[in-house]
């Protein structure tokens, strides 16, 4: 059985959640996505995972993108269904000054680590996450490096983060 096209997947989610689901953007299988209202994300994910015929059993990727111009941090969920071979992308816009998004760790176990990474590198807080702490950066690192306005500190515990160019003429 061929996987459902993004248009059909969008129609099914939209039929169930109405206003909470935005328009479909992107035309290819690998970029077709829909925005979801932050408050609805857990229910939408649960529906996508459990609904017969959809069965998105895998959270393939969870990432974040900072858009200072729109003043949002977009959290991007790439969902995949091993059983049905569907691929679909959800996007949640979190306000940049206080980004809070409900956690989907209760739906896919892997989300726990992926959300920690987004929290660490972009500063998005995931509500009801079982263990939200930094994962790649040191615990006392200032700021969130993947934000567009992040400025690298000059030193970390007395260790300089820059050096003279080795190519400079002596």
């Amino acid at each position: 059985m061929a996987p459902l096209a993004a248009v059909d997947l969008h129609v099914r989610v939209k039929a169930r959640f109405g206003e909470s689901i935005g328009e479909l953007t992107g035309t290819r299988r690998d970029n077709a996505s829909a925005t979801v209202a932050p408050a609805a994300i857990v229910e939408v994910c649960r529906f996508l995972k459990t609904e017969p015929g959809l069965e998105f059993d895998c959270l393939s990727n969870l990432s974040g993108v900072d858009y200072p111009k729109r003043s949002v941090i977009e959290v991007v969920y790439h969902l995949y269904s091993y059983r049905q071979r569907h691929l679909f992308t959800l996007k949640v816009d979190a306000p940049r000054d206080a980004p809070v998004v409900p956690s989907v760790a209760s739906i896919w176990s892997h989300a726990e680590w992926q959300e920690r990474e987004v929290f660490d590198l972009l500063g998005v807080t995931f509500e009801r996450h079982p263990d939200l702490r930094r994962i790649l950066m040191p615990e006392d690192w200032p700021g969130h490096p993947l934000r567009k306005d992040f400025v690298e500190p000059e030193e970390y515990h007395g260790i300089s983060t820059s050096r003279e160019s080795l190519l400079k003429a002596t």
Partner: protein
């Protein structure tokens, strides 16, 4: 992560007068020969039995995703080698494919074949390191030398192709950097011919050794449901009996034209999804790589290997999610372009990152020595976890 929160837990003396015991908290790594990179586990153990092994990662974080935003589309290619330096070719390919998808660039047929040849040689080479070092971690040193010997021959071939023996940098956006050198094809074919029987020799040497299989069978069993829930990919997923391979199920490049099988774990030494299954899947995959390589080397079509791509490459605004089958499985590249000469965002979702997230769950109630087998069987490569 310090040891705070993992303090020694003192148990009260038992009412029946039995001895009181204490849980011990050990820090394993970040410098430990079996961790294949810098990787740390905080182990809470009751004697030799682990109650918990909590992974602590980030020691090899080089902010590769941030670098992508600063160096431009072509400039990022050499950094992709460093994402997973044991299997650099698939990382090259993932990045190239993402850029090509965004800009709708078609790669010439010969270029695609060269990519597959390079990637499959890299896969064998990576699996050899994995199975060889796994045997060594378990305590058998000789198989490691056999695996490394063969790995060196493949390094020779790849060196002729791209000039490097570790951080291979062969692919470019639009194709590959150089055509195969003269007479390389015959040399490569002859090597595949020689190498394939050595897999059986390796099996005779270690794979079915009684001590070895006893150490691996029924250890850290991952069910198919858990594997998918934790997003395990590649040989780790197939070890749990899920017949899924991006090369076949989400086809890219010239894989649809090639004939190969997808080996899965069958629980032949214990239960499906144990350490042995993950190990033996890699052994069998090397045979399939030989099959693919032979077809590619024989069918290699004439023509150019790279298409013309602007030096000042600016793909139109948009995003895409590209997946390639790396040696450690499905590797996802989420790339966003804003139409400028610099990628807006590049997220690399790697197999090892998923694999280490399941360690805490599967290591419960195992012996400390088994943790070594678990790490080796999941084929964790630290730079790929931390990026």
């Amino acid at each position: 992560m310090g040891l705070a929160g993992f303090e020694v837990e003192v148990q009260r003396p038992q009412a029946d007068g039995g001895l009181s015991t204490e849980d011990m908290t050990l820090s394993m790594g970040p410098q430990h020969p079996s961790t294949h990179g810098v990787l740390r586990f905080v182990v809470r153990a009751d004697g030799e039995v682990m109650k918990e092994a909590i992974p602590d990662i980030g020691y090899l974080h080089r902010s590769i995703e941030k670098i992508a935003e600063k160096v431009g589309w072509h400039g990022f290619m050499p950094y992709t080698d460093r994402v997973d330096y044991v299997a650099a070719m698939p990382c090259n390919q993932g990045w190239a494919m993402a850029a090509e998808r965004l800009a709708a660039i078609e790669v010439p047929k010969r270029g695609e074949y060269c990519r597959v040849i390079a990637t499959e040689f890299n896969r064998i080479q990576s699996h050899l390191l994995s199975v060889g070092s796994m045997a060594m971690d378990i305590g058998a040193y000789t198989p490691f030398t056999h695996a490394l010997r063969e790995r060196e021959y493949i390094n020779d071939l790849i060196e002729e192709l791209c000039g490097a023996r570790l951080t291979f940098n062969y692919m470019r956006i639009g194709g590959v950097a150089w055509d195969v050198p003269p007479a390389w094809r015959e040399k490569a074919l002859a090597y595949v011919q020689r190498f394939e029987p050595l897999i059986d020799e390796f099996n005779d040497l270690i794979s079915y050794n009684r001590i070895y299989t006893e150490r691996l069978a029924n250890v850290a069993v991952v069910t198919a449901e858990d594997a998918i829930d934790y997003n395990l990919v590649g040989p780790n997923l197939r070890g749990s009996g899920v017949r899924y391979d991006v090369r076949r199920d989400e086809p890219y490049s010239v894989y649809p034209e090639l004939d190969f099988e997808i080996p899965v774990g069958r629980g032949e030494m214990g239960r499906v999804g144990d350490c042995f299954d993950r190990y033996i899947v890699r052994i069998r995959e090397m045979k399939e790589c030989c099959k693919i390589l032979r077809q590619c080397l024989q069918q290699l079509p004439p023509g150019p290997v790279i298409t013309k791509v602007a030096r000042n490459f600016k793909p139109p605004p948009g995003d895409c999610y590209v997946r390639v089958e790396s040696a450690r499985g499905d590797m996802g590249w989420y790339v966003v372009s804003d139409g400028t000469a610099f990628p807006y965002r590049c997220k690399i979702r790697t197999g090892s990152f998923a694999a280490i997230s399941i360690v805490q769950k599967v290591s419960r109630n195992l012996m400390i020595a088994d943790l070594i087998a678990v790490i080796a069987s999941l084929d964790l490569v630290a730079p790929e976890i931390d990026r």
